[in-house]
């Protein structure tokens, strides 16, 4: 698309890839975002909060659209909207297994639809930025400034520090919330905190993958890793490695093609997931255990 094109010489390809400063920045930002998405996504999949995560990701869109309309920094829009939505969702009690009716999914769905509707309104009020609207929705890696990279790094570091501080109690509360509560772990508070962290992560990631595809980077590496191993620490490491790998490959391929980066990121992520499912089943087959029984 921009360079002389893909050749068989791998060294010249890599050289081409880093020829322009914007591409170097894209890789820097992509790496930061991938590490963050992997870490938060691992907990999200474990906590079965895919719907909440997806909604928080999508909420970045009205935030960014409002910021553009009002002419303020887009960062305020992204983070403000995501954190606000996290607080709204956290206010609804979580659905418990065995409960006949819970309002959780209805509220999350309504928050999502309303947020997107507000996005449409802001876009309409601003009038005509159709090209950047597609970029906002499906991601663009062009024109990431040094300042933006620094902002991404600072926020990611803050989120990861908080996550590291609560990692153990959060894991406990996730795996068995009743026992954790009995042992004095502040389950409810952790739940709210986690949603806010998830909101921050979604706001970061959406600046690279576009708001509609954040979810892919959150869910795909984590779900693949949880297919491969049951051990938390190993799974966590695999998740982050996969997220970074998927992002790098996606960016590299997108550089040489006309199609959006989000398409490549989701497709590579999907391939990783299918591969890990295949590995799990074949491993179960090799050890002479029926895969069904391994699950049960």
């Amino acid at each position: 698309m921009l360079g002389t094109g893909l050749t068989w010489n791998l060294r010249s390809d890599v050289h081409q890839l880093f020829e322009f400063h914007f591409m170097v920045n894209a890789f820097r930002a992509g790496t930061i975002v991938a590490v963050l998405a992997g870490a938060i996504g691992w907990y999200m999949v474990l906590r079965r909060q895919a719907f909440a995560g997806h909604t928080l990701a999508v909420v970045a869109f009205p935030g960014a659209a409002a910021a553009i309309w009002l002419g303020i920094s887009v960062n305020f829009g992204y983070f403000g909207a995501c954190i606000a939505a996290a607080v709204v969702i956290a206010a609804v009690p979580r659905a418990n297994a065995g409960q006949t009716y819970s309002e959780e999914s209805a509220v999350i769905g309504t928050v999502q639809a309303f947020a997107l509707a507000c996005g449409v309104l802001f876009v309409s009020l601003y009038g005509g930025f159709l090209n950047s609207l597609t970029g906002l929705l499906f991601g663009t890696f062009l024109g990431i400034s040094n300042r933006q990279v620094v902002t991404l790094l600072v926020v990611a570091a803050a989120v990861l520090v908080v996550l590291a501080a609560v990692a153990r109690p959060l894991f406990f509360a996730t795996v068995d919330s009743d026992v954790a509560q009995a042992r004095g772990v502040p389950v409810r508070l952790l739940s709210v905190l986690f949603l806010v962290l998830l909101g921050c992560a979604a706001a970061e990631v959406s600046q690279i993958t576009g708001v509609l595809l954040v979810f892919a980077l959150l869910v795909m590496p984590a779900a693949s890793a949880q297919q491969l191993t049951a051990r938390p620490a190993v799974g966590f490491a695999i998740t982050i490695a996969l997220a970074v790998g998927i992002t790098w490959t996606g960016l590299a391929v997108a550089y040489f093609s006309v199609y959006p980066v989000g398409f490549f990121v989701t497709t590579i992520g999907m391939a990783c997931y299918l591969l890990s499912v295949a590995i799990r089943y074949s491993a179960a087959y090799v050890t002479r255990r029926a895969p069904r029984r391994a699950v049960a």
Binding site: A106, L212, A216, M270
Partner: protein, 298 residues
């Protein structure tokens, strides 16, 4: 607009004298009733995430059809119904499936971005981009007469099917074990409901857009669940709230052209839900204070 302020009836007559608004009201009424009824069961069974997934699949289906050069609606209905049946085949309604559903629809959406690029680059100008945005956010004022009529008829069929299945579906949704033991075909009903959801999603995409159809599925049903505990009342109430949202939304968008109709519809539905939450919260506080008076120290 001045007539609208001076005399509401004249204003409404004036509004309905535009053909595009008549078509919008015709299609909108059908879509509202269908999504209100279907949405009630979706919310009851906590399958709203399915609706979320379908909204993304709808986008990809429509764009794939456009990129292939065939009618947008074929792709829309085809993708929605196929994906809905796939989710039904994936199994029970436990939230454990959320991750799988999420992975699949995230990928399908990425595919949608791919088709959007194909479609945009194969056209000149901004026509491709506008179409993509229209699929995502709806263009109810752009419906043709035949499209509106098809929409209304299909919605009517969906509504009739839901009402016909309502009793067994309710039984299966509330307690699938007991229902199964009593000979209710629980699994077949799950398939039927998701098929209807797929059709409704494809319909609603044309009105409020792929990304906002959750507003019509989740918000009216959530509000109805809040306001009454009686199942059939809640079902009808859900349809009525959806209808009210669409009518109010369309009128608002007509009165203030700057406001997109999709936003007005979803915002009305959200406002009603919010109102329902506030009303029931207040009512609960009030009732508690009546039922349990403070113990008077004697």
């Amino acid at each position: 607009m001045s007539t609208l302020a001076a005399n509401p009836f004249a204003g409404i007559a004036h509004m309905l004298s535009h053909p595009f608004l008549r078509y919008a009201f015709l299609a909108g009424t059908g879509i509202a009733i269908a999504s209100g009824l279907v949405g009630y069961f979706i919310v009851l069974r906590q399958q709203v995430f399915t609706g979320d997934a379908l909204s993304h699949v709808a986008f990809t289906g429509a764009l794939a059809a456009l990129a292939a050069g065939i009618n947008l609606r074929i792709g829309l209905y085809g993708a929605c119904i196929l994906f809905a049946l796939l989710i039904a085949a994936l199994g029970n309604r436990g939230s454990g499936d959320d991750t799988t559903i999420g992975i699949v629809f995230a990928w399908i959406l990425g595919l949608g971005a791919f088709f959007l690029t194909i479609y945009t680059t194969s056209r000149s100008g901004t026509a491709g981009g506008t179409t993509g945005i229209n699929v995502l956010f709806g263009s109810i004022f752009g419906l043709s007469r035949s499209a509106a009529q098809t929409n209304a008829v299909l919605s009517l069929l969906v509504a009739v099917a839901v009402i016909g299945l309502a009793r067994p579906l309710l039984f299966a949704s509330i307690d699938d074990n007991v229902a199964g033991a009593r000979g209710v075909p629980v699994r077949a009903l799950g398939f039927a409901l998701l098929f209807l959801v797929g059709v409704t999603a494809a319909q609603a995409t044309q009105a409020v857009g792929a990304l906002l159809l959750l507003g019509l599925l989740a918000a009216p049903a959530g509000a109805a669940q809040r306001l009454t505990a009686r199942p059939f009342t809640a079902m009808w109430l859900s349809a009525a709230i959806a209808l009210l949202s669409v009518w109010t939304g369309l009128s608002l968008a007509y009165a203030a052209p700057k406001i997109p109709p999709s936003f007005a519809i979803v915002a009305t539905a959200t406002a009603i839900y919010l109102g329902a939450i506030l009303v029931t919260k207040c009512a609960r506080v009030f009732r508690v204070s009546i039922a349990e008076p403070c113990p008077v120290p004697s």
